[in-house]
Subunit: 209 residues, 2 copies
């Protein structure tokens, strides 16, 4: 018999975590080597139990599943991570993919599907719920389609103008003065820019170029 797949679990809901734990350990070929209710200090936790696959809840206290995924992938790129969520939120999917997650499934998936997802991820596959799959395709069309002219394409003139000032290191107030509009207006545009480019801060914005 070949090696068992070592699985670690991150899920803040006690009932769910316990359920998954039973489910995994009850499956031949799978062992749950760790179950945690948050992803704080996740690198340390991972170092302790050395999983092959991580089943990661997306909504957790301390740091969320996406951030946690990014961290793990930085230190242990060989570990497969399956992100699990209740939502089919477009942004969450986008971020999950970009955080390096291998799969993205819904919590409402039947237990059998979850076990399949773990195995599939371990074998190098990309377990994805069909409804998720279609959304990722849509996102890929939007973004990696162009990919380099992306950054400031798909922005209108005003947004591009403000983006320019943002990346010059100016604050809302300075941008507002520079354009002779209110600070609120600047915030309005920046919000839209963030949303279009799928970032959430100046730092992320500037890192993406």
């Amino acid at each position: 018999m070949e090696k068992e797949i070592r699985v670690a679990l991150f899920e803040d809901n006690y009932m769910l975590r316990d359920g998954y734990y039973q489910l995994i350990n009850g499956s031949p070929g799978l062992t749950c080597v760790g179950a945690f209710d948050n992803a704080g200090d996740i690198i340390f936790k991972i170092s302790g139990c050395r999983p092959d696959v991580i089943l990661m809840d997306i909504d957790m206290p301390v740091i969320n599943g996406i951030q946690a995924t990014r961290l793990v992938k930085e230190h242990f790129p060989e570990i497969s991570i399956v992100i699990q969520t209740v939502f089919e939120d477009e942004d969450k999917i986008f971020e999950s993919i970009h955080s390096g997650a291998n799969g993205y499934i819904l919590k409402k998936s039947p237990p059998l599907k979850i076990l399949e997802a773990i195995s599939e991820a371990y074998q190098g596959g990309a377990p994805i719920t069909p409804s998720i799959a279609s959304k990722t395709l849509k996102l890929f069309r939007q973004t990696s389609a162009n990919h380099q002219l992306k950054s400031s394409a798909q922005l209108n003139d005003r947004q591009r103008e403000i983006l320019q000032l943002i990346v010059s290191g100016l604050s809302y107030k300075l941008i507002a003065d520079s354009l002779s509009v209110s600070v609120e207006t600047v915030k309005y545009h920046v919000k839209n820019i963030y949303s279009i480019l799928h970032v959430h801060s100046r730092a992320e914005l500037m890192a993406r170029r």
Copy 2:
């Protein structure tokens, strides 16, 4: 008689502003075409009075003299700006120079020196108090000396490591987790990095590269 030098005044202290106004208008060859107690909406104000030289207080409400200078230089690079301050603060000098100011003098300078500074700035000179001059030289040695290996030289290993994560767009919390240290420690290092590189935010930091 040649054209008079048109001077605009930004100074929040009423007494001083009035004094300067009298001083300038009392000098042959100089006209005070505007005196304001703050630099809010400065582009509009400047557009209204079209000065050749601006005498700018560094400490003002709404937006400070350095920010104001940056704005003016963006829109009217031909206007000469003399920054005036009570402090000989190293950082302020550094920022003033980088904001594009033409001169930097102390408020305690005698009136005659101030008038000279205005004329000198108008003629393309760089009026600077001697004590300021020596500090600028020191700063230049530190920074523009290297200029491109600057950014991460003069930082130690730990600081360079954290800088790397900062420019990747990570938050304090994520950096902390990534390095397995406390958020406070990360803040500590970032503070030092900012201080060394003379910036005050992620945005400025990333703009400088």
